[in-house]
C-alpha cells in the first residue's frame, strides 16, 4: 500500500473541495443521475459514477497537455455537460476554471483571456474556436484550445486546436495506467484554494475576476441547500450563462453539495420546451425570464375563446385575492375562497403550472434585479413557491433569502445563517460571511476598496431593514442621488416600477441634480407588437413601432400610473416622471449600453444620448437623432429617428404634517 493510496482513503471523508464532493457522490450515489443533456432527441443521462469517470479522464487529459496547479482554464459555451465537468477537472488538478459569457464578442473575451493569463481554453464549438483564433494574436499565452462539438472542425489543422474527445481519450488511458497521479493531485487540493474565478462585468470599468475559495463557495451552497432542504432528488434546468454566479451556485455548487441532477437544454431556442419536459423541482431565473413568461401567458390567453378567457380572468382574480396567502399557509382565508382556489387549481393554476413546466417546482428563486410585485404575486398566487434572494458574485449570491412563509413582495428576505449584514451610514449594505470572495484577481487595490478592515464587503447597494428584519434594496448606492430640491432620487426604483409593465422592456431615469425626473423608455417588442397587431397598426420594425403615436399614448398611460403610485412613496414622491421619450432603438449589450447581464450602463447611456437628455430638460417637443448600431455578425449600421417628447401628468405631493 502506497502512501498515496492511504491519502486517497483518508480523502474519503473529506467534503471540503468540489472534486472531493464529486468523488463522494460517485461513491454514495453512483447510479443516481448527475447530469442530463437533451441531445439526439432524448435526455442523455450520466450517473455520478460516469460523471466522475469522465471528469477524471478530462483532468488527466488536461494534465498530459501540461495544465498544472495554479493555471486558469477558460470555459466558454452554452450549458453543456462537459463544460460543467471541465470545471471540476480543472479543480482536480488544482487549477481554476474561468467560465466566460458565451455570447460575448471576441474583443470582450480578449481582456479576460489576457487578464487571467489563460493558457487553456475549453470551448463549445466552431463559433467559439473562431473567436479564440480571432484574438489569438493578442493573447500569445493561449496555447491550447479544446472544443466539445466537432461539427465543422475538420479543416482546423492548427496543432493547438484539439478535440476534447481526443484529449479525454488520452486521459482515460493515462488514468487507467496511473490512477494514483490524479488522486494525489486531488488530495493536494485544499479548501482554501481558489475554486473558481467569475468575472463581474461591472457597470463601469473593466471586468474584475472575483476569486472564490472552495470553502466559501461550498459554504454558500450548503447554506442554501439546508435553508430549502434540497436533496439529491432535485432536478434543475441549467440554462443560465455559466459565467453567472447564479448558475454556478445552482448548477455547480449546490448540485455538488446536494448531489442532485442538472439538466442541460438542447439549445437556447428550446429552453421552454425542455423546461416543460424536465419539470424541475428547483428553479432559478432572473426576473426578466419570469416577466417574459408572464407576457407570453397573457399573449397566448388573448387568443383563447371567450369562455376560457372569462374562466381564466375569474380564477386569476381569485388567486390574486387569496392565492399567495394559501401558499404561505396563512390563517384567516374564508372557506369560500379556499374552495374557489381549489377549483381554480384544478381548472387553471394546475394546468398553467404544467404548461409552463413548473408543476413540480418546490422552490424557485429569482435574483439579479428587482422583481415587480405584480409579477411576483402572480407566480406565488398560482402556487409556485417563488422567492427572492439577494447576493452578488462577490458574496456567492448568498446574503439574504426569503424563508418559506415569510414572503414580502418588496423585500429580499432575511440574512441567511452565518452571514452578517449591516447598513452603513450612507445607506450602503455591508456583508461579512464565510461565503465571500478572497479577492479580485490581480487587483489588490479593488480588493482593498471593497473589503474594509473589519472584513465587511461593500456591496454598493443602498437598502434598509424593515421592522421584521427583512432587507429592502432600493438602488445602487452610487446611483442614489438628489433632486435639485434635495429630495432623494433612486433611479432604479423608478425604472423598475416602469419595467413592471409588460409593454416596457427597459427604462432609464434621470434626475440627479435636476429639478425633475425624466426618462428614456424601451418598449417590449413582443408585447407591444402583439398589442399593435390586434389594433391593426402596421409597423416595419422596432424603430417604426416605437415612433407610433398610439404606442406613445400607451407608454404615457403606464408612466402616469407609476406617478400615481410614486406619490404615495414617502421620500420618493418627488421622483415622478415629468417628461419621457421612447427610444428609437433597443438598448443592447452589443452596443455597450447594457452589461452582459442586461443592466443599464447609466453613465455610458447618458453620454451617448446627451442630446436626448438635453431635449428632455430643455422643453423641446421633439429631437432628431442618428445612432450607430452593431449587428450580431459584427457589421454596423445607422438608425435615425425624430423622437417625440411626451409630457406625463404628475400628482401633487401631499406632505404629511410632521
Amino acid at each position: 500500500m502506497s502512501a498515496v493510496n492511504e491519502a486517497a482513503r483518508s480523502d474519503r471523508e473529506r467534503l471540503d473541495t468540489f472534486p472531493h464532493l464529486m468523488l463522494h457522490h460517485a461513491r454514495v450515489r453512483g447510479e443516481h443521475p448527475a447530469t442530463r443533456e437533451k441531445d439526439m432527441g432524448i435526455w442523455q443521462t450520466w450517473t455520478w459514477q460516469q460523471v466522475a469517470a469522465e471528469t477524471r479522464a478530462m483532468a488527466c487529459g488536461l494534465s498530459l497537455l501540461g495544465f498544472k496547479r495554479g493555471d486558469n482554464l477558460a470555459i466558454i459555451g452554452d450549458n453543456r455537460p462537459r463544460l460543467y465537468w471541465a470545471m471540476c477537472a480543472a479543480q482536480m488538478l488544482g487549477g481554476v476554471p474561468v467560465p466566460m459569457y458565451q455570447d460575448a464578442v471576441a474583443q470582450e473575451m480578449s481582456f479576460v483571456l489576457e487578464n487571467a493569463e489563460i493558457r487553456f481554453a475549453i470551448v463549445e464549438d466552431q463559433e467559439q474556436v473562431d473567436k479564440m483564433l480571432e484574438i489569438k494574436d493578442n493573447c500569445p499565452q493561449l496555447a491550447h484550445i479544446l472544443y466539445d462539438d466537432p461539427r465543422g472542425m475538420r479543416h482546423y489543422n492548427q496543432t493547438f486546436i484539439q478535440s476534447l474527445d481526443e484529449v479525454m481519450e488520452m486521459g482515460r488511458i493515462h488514468d487507467q495506467k496511473q490512477p494514483d497521479l490524479l488522486d494525489t493531485e486531488i488530495h493536494q487540493g485544499g479548501s482554501e484554494d481558489i475554486s473558481v474565478m467569475l468575472y463581474t462585468s461591472g457597470t463601469t470599468g473593466k471586468p474584475k475576476g472575483v476569486c472564490v475559495t472552495h470553502a466559501a463557495f461550498i459554504a454558500a451552497a450548503r447554506t442554501g441547500c439546508e435553508f430549502d432542504h434540497l436533496s439529491a432528488a432535485e432536478e434543475v434546468l441549467s440554462y443560465l450563462p455559466m459565467a453567472w454566479v447564479g448558475d454556478h451556485l445552482f448548477s455547480y455548487g449546490q448540485a455538488l453539495v446536494a448531489g442532485f441532477t442538472i439538466n442541460c437544454p438542447e439549445s437556447g431556442d428550446t429552453v421552454m420546451t425542455d423546461l416543460r419536459e424536465i419539470g424541475p423541482t428547483y428553479y432559478f431565473a432572473p426576473p426578466r425570464v419570469f416577466e417574459n413568461l408572464l407576457t407570453q401567458v397573457m399573449i397566448r390567453m388573448e387568443d383563447a375563446s371567450n369562455i376560457k378567457r372569462k374562466l381564466f380572468d375569474y380564477f386569476m382574480r381569485v388567486a390574486k385575492r387569496c392565492g399567495a396567502e394559501i401558499l404561505d399557509g396563512k390563517p384567516g382565508v374564508p372557506f369560500s375562497d379556499r374552495f374557489n382556489y381549489a377549483l381554480g387549481n384544478l381548472l387553471i393554476y394546475g394546468p398553467l403550472r404544467n404548461v409552463l413546466g413548473m408543476s413540480r417546482i418546490r422552490v424557485a428563486y429569482t435574483a439579479g434585479a428587482a422583481i415587480g410585485p405584480d409579477l411576483f404575486r402572480f407566480y406565488r398566487s398560482i402556487g409556485i413557491n417563488l422567492k427572492q434572494l439577494y447576493g452578488s458574485t462577490e458574496t456567492c449570491a448568498a446574503v439574504c433569502l426569503q424563508p418559506d412563509g415569510e414572503i414580502k413582495f418588496d423585500s429580499v428576505g432575511k440574512p441567511v445563517p452565518g452571514v452578517e449584514v449591516k447598513i452603513a451610514g450612507n445607506g450602503e449594505v455591508l456583508v461579512r460571511s464565510q461565503a465571500m470572495l478572497k479577492g479580485y484577481y490581480k487587483r489588490p487595490d479593488a480588493t482593498a476598496e471593497s473589503i474594509d478592515g473589519e472584513g465587511y464587503f461593500h456591496t454598493g447597494d443602498a437598502g434598509f431593514f424593515d421592522e421584521d428584519g427583512h432587507l429592502k434594496i432600493i438602488d445602487r448606492a452610487k446611483d442614489v442621488g438628489k433632486l435639485a430640491n434635495g429630495a432623494m432620487f433612486a433611479p432604479n426604483y423608478i425604472e423598475n416600477k416602469l419595467k413592471f409593465f409588460q409593454f416596457i422592456k427597459e427604462a432609464v431615469a434621470f434626475g440627479h441634480d435636476r429639478n425633475m425626473v425624466c426618462a428614456f423608455i424601451n418598449i417590449d417588442m413582443g408585447a407591444v407588437g402583439n398589442w399593435a397587431e390586434r389594433r391593426n397598426i402596421a409597423y416595419s420594425g422596432y424603430t417604426d413601432l416605437a415612433a407610433k403615436a398610439e404606442v406613445g399614448q400607451l407608454v404615457l398611460e403606464c408612466v402616469e400610473q407609476v406617478n400615481a403610485e410614486l406619490v404615495h412613496d414617502g421620500m420618493l414622491a418627488d421622483s415622478q416622471v415629468h417628461r419621457f421619450l421612447v427610444l428609437h432603438k433597443e438598448l443592447d449589450p452589443d452596443d455597450d449600453e447594457l452589461t452582459r447581464t442586461r443592466k443599464v450602463r447609466r453613465g455610458f447611456v447618458s453620454e451617448k444620448y446627451a442630446v436626448l437628455i438635453d431635449a428632455l430638460y430643455s422643453g423641446k417637443a421633439s429631437q432628431y437623432i442618428e445612432t450607430q448600431v452593431k449587428f450580431e455578425d459584427g457589421r454596423t449600421g445607422m438608425v435615425a429617428a425624430d423622437l417625440k417628447v411626451y409630457e406625463a401628468r404628475t400628482f401633487p405631493v401631499v406632505r404629511k404634517a410632521a
Binding site: M40, G41, G152, H155, S267
Partner: protein, 261 residues
C-alpha cells in the same frame, strides 16, 4: 474554398438518348462523375436536366446509351437497384411523405438498411425495437447535422418550404448514399435559406465524402460550390468543364448565359 480531391470516375454516362413518344428529352449525352466531386448540371428550363437525373436513378429508361456505375455497364438503371447501390436523390417539387413526421420521413430513408420484416415488426419487442432504436440513433445524427431538432416530431406538411427541403435532404442522407442527386435544392429559397443549404451540401460532401450531382438555377451558387459543370440545352450537351471553363465557353454564353442572364 478548400479544393476537394476528386477520385476516380464513379458514374459514366455514355451517349444517352431518351424520348417520350416523339418528344426528344435527351440526345446523345455523355459525361462522367468522379468520386467526391460536386458536379452541377445546368441549362435553361426544359433542357432535360431533371430527365438526366431520372435516367441516373432509373425512373426513366433511356432508349439508347450506356450507364456505367462503379465499373458496371448497364443499359438502364432500375430505381430499386439504384437505391440499393447507393444513389439517393431529392426532387424538384418536394416529394416528402406528407402524412408523416420529420422523424418518420427521415427514417424511411433507412429502409434499405432495415432487416426486420412485418412479422417482427408486429411483435415489435425484440429485434424490431432494437433495430428501430439503432436506426433512430443514426437519424438523430442527421437531424442534428441539419439543425432541425426542434421540428423532429412535426408533421412535414406543417413546415415552411425551406425546412421541407432540408428534411428531404435528410431523408436522402439517411440512406448514407455514395451519390446524392439534388434536383434544384435551392429553388424558391431566400438568401439566408440558400446559404444554409449551400453549407449543408458542402458539409455533406466534405464530412461524408458523398459525391453530389446537382441541378441548380442560381449561377452564383453553381459556380461557387461545384467542381465541374455540365451544360445542357434542348436535351443536348453544349459544355462540360470547371466553372471557369464554363464561364468562358462561347457556346454556353451564346446559348444560355447570354440569353437568360
Amino acid at each position: 474554398m478548400a479544393q476537394r480531391q476528386s477520385g476516380d470516375v464513379i458514374l459514366d454516362l455514355q451517349k444517352i438518348s431518351l424520348h417520350f413518344g416523339g418528344v426528344k428529352a435527351l440526345t446523345d449525352i455523355s459525361f462522367d462523375v468522379r468520386e467526391h466531386e460536386i458536379r452541377a448540371i445546368i441549362g435553361p428550363n426544359g433542357a432535360g436536366k431533371s430527365s438526366m437525373l431520372n435516367v441516373i436513378n432509373g425512373v426513366y429508361h433511356p432508349q439508347e446509351g450506356t450507364i456505367v456505375f462503379r465499373g458496371k455497364p448497364r443499359h438502364e438503371m432500375d430505381t430499386y437497384q439504384a437505391a440499393k447501390a447507393g444513389i439517393a436523390r431529392t426532387f424538384q417539387n418536394i416529394a416528402l411523405f406528407k402524412g408523416m413526421s420529420v422523424l418518420d420521413n427521415i427514417m424511411t430513408g433507412r429502409n434499405l438498411k432495415i432487416r426486420s420484416n412485418f412479422l417482427l415488426d408486429a411483435i415489435y419487442w425484440g429485434p424490431a425495437q432494437r433495430e428501430e432504436i439503432e436506426h433512430r440513433r443514426k437519424v438523430e445524427e442527421i437531424i442534428d447535422f441539419l439543425e432541425i431538432q426542434h421540428i423532429r416530431k412535426t408533421p412535414v406538411g406543417r413546415l415552411p418550404y425551406g425546412f421541407q427541403k432540408r428534411v428531404e435532404l435528410g431523408r436522402a442522407l439517411a440512406a448514407e448514399p455514395s451519390i446524392l442527386l439534388l434536383d434544384e435544392p435551392m429553388a424558391g429559397m431566400n438568401v439566408e435559406e440558400k446559404q444554409d443549404m449551400c453549407r449543408f451540401i458542402l458539409d455533406v460532401n466534405d464530412q461524408f465524402g458523398t459525391t453530389i450531382v446537382l441541378i441548380e438555377h442560381d449561377m452564383g451558387v453553381v459556380m461557387d460550390i461545384s467542381d465541374r459543370v455540365v451544360v445542357l440545352d434542348y436535351g443536348k450537351k453544349i459544355g462540360d468543364g470547371t466553372p471557369d471553363e464554363i464561364r468562358n465557353n462561347q457556346d454556353v454564353i451564346n446559348a444560355y448565359l447570354g440569353v437568360a442572364h
